[in-house]
Symmetry: C2
Subunit: 302 residues, 2 copies
Amino acid sequence: MNTLDGLLEKAAKKKDSVIAVACAAETEVLKSVQLAVRQNLASFILFDDEKELQTIMAADFPELLNTLKVSICHTENKAVSASAAVKAISSGKAHVLMKGNLPTSVILKAVLNREYGLRTGRVLSHVAAFEVAGYERLIFVTDAAMNIAPDLTTKVQIIQNSVSVAHACGVEKPIVAPLAAVETINPAMIPSTDAALLTMMNKRGQITGCIVEGPLALDNAVSPEAAKQKGLTGDAAGNADILLVPNIEAGNILYKSLMYFAHAKVGAVIQGAKAPVVLTSRADSAESKLYSLALALLTSDQ
Amino acid sequence: MNTLDGLLEKAAKKKDSVIAVACAAETEVLKSVQLAVRQNLASFILFDDEKELQTIMAADFPELLNTLKVSICHTENKAVSASAAVKAISSGKAHVLMKGNLPTSVILKAVLNREYGLRTGRVLSHVAAFEVAGYERLIFVTDAAMNIAPDLTTKVQIIQNSVSVAHACGVEKPIVAPLAAVETINPAMIPSTDAALLTMMNKRGQITGCIVEGPLALDNAVSPEAAKQKGLTGDAAGNADILLVPNIEAGNILYKSLMYFAHAKVGAVIQGAKAPVVLTSRADSAESKLYSLALALLTSDQ
């Protein structure tokens, strides 16, 4: 059984990983750094105002001042902090970028900087790994946060990004279900035609490392019984590892439904840059932030 | 606490209700008829081939042959069965239309027939009522099944249809959350701008009988803590009764996520015609079909 705690253990076994944190001088951010250090997950370079960082750490996180696992790099403002953290990645000093107390737009601007940024030419996309009660496997959802209304070409890259995450989590040949409201092809519903095209692109070798099977409604993607009842044959329907949502609204709703209605556990990462980026928000639990770091460490290739 | 079993009790108290079932000669359909009769929910007129109906009933549902609650009306084929069931509604003999063993398109064609159909000029839309563990109220989701990509004007009607269902279920002033991926207005995201417009239309009296509050992401709609954390003030955010989804994919995914990941109970009805229509499918549980009938009976105005 593949679990998020399993990923955490696996990530901890990867030696010498370094995480660069932009704008780290904030309690919630330092809480997750402390948790990660306690779990021996990685070393950290914290970018922010040095005095501010030391004041908070002295008051609330003294153990972070006394460990070789944490180093501090003084930066004067949020933009500088973001670019310095990104440069730590480009120069090979760190392997995962983590957003601290700064707007997402500021850190992404640094990530996309043409000189020192982490561009690869690929699309950046969000991949979330959910542990849902009653499911033996992790369920990956993409893209619930970055791409608003991806076209077919973008969806191909979103799939490839998520497949690389699934591989890093030990899922050798993930089943990808491009979701629609139906399992038939309806020209009035772009998600259904895109799903069919993605399935054929996979059959023609244009999408690799996975099995794509769609269009599928969510029930036919995750329940073998529902798939059977709809007359869908083969092993893919009902056994999806990766759920490709058609747009950011569907993704965001699925993500939050899993969190608030199904009480699932989650970790998430931005994939497609030279290094994985963790964009946790204040609302995320400490546990969830830790899972995100584990996911990022597993997909980094130091 | 508002529950689906509570709706069932309330619906049973409504006397002399009649349900017209198009193409009733099928085991799964008759199972729900039998359940409803046992619960004293309503009387039924079953439309289908008389001999076939009597054969199945004699073999598996003898009690349906021996009750005054069930009458049979012979029809020669599916299209005739659909139109006869619809005519039973138009003529006032029945109050709720139920789909039996025929394609949805065939029954909807009869519903929309210009001569004897059930048109009102309003949009037909799907309203589902969910009972979710941990929530004291019913959570209504609309429209997860009828309108593919509704525009602003259609969304207004979808809201009004769902509000009438909420009223019938005893929710006096439902809070409607038009969902988006964000709670800010982003011109690049139509669901967010539509949500803001719907909120203002409600303030200007163009949407009535409810409080509309959006755009909201799902977490800010159903969790007061999440809403507070985002700095959303007032009582509406976090306490939504009705979740308006931006498109059929988001709706279908939310519906199925509630069913398969959160194990919620559900009943659903098509609203906007002269009488409520129940379009259950084979995959629905008997319990769910019963809840749908209860929901329909409560919204019918015999």
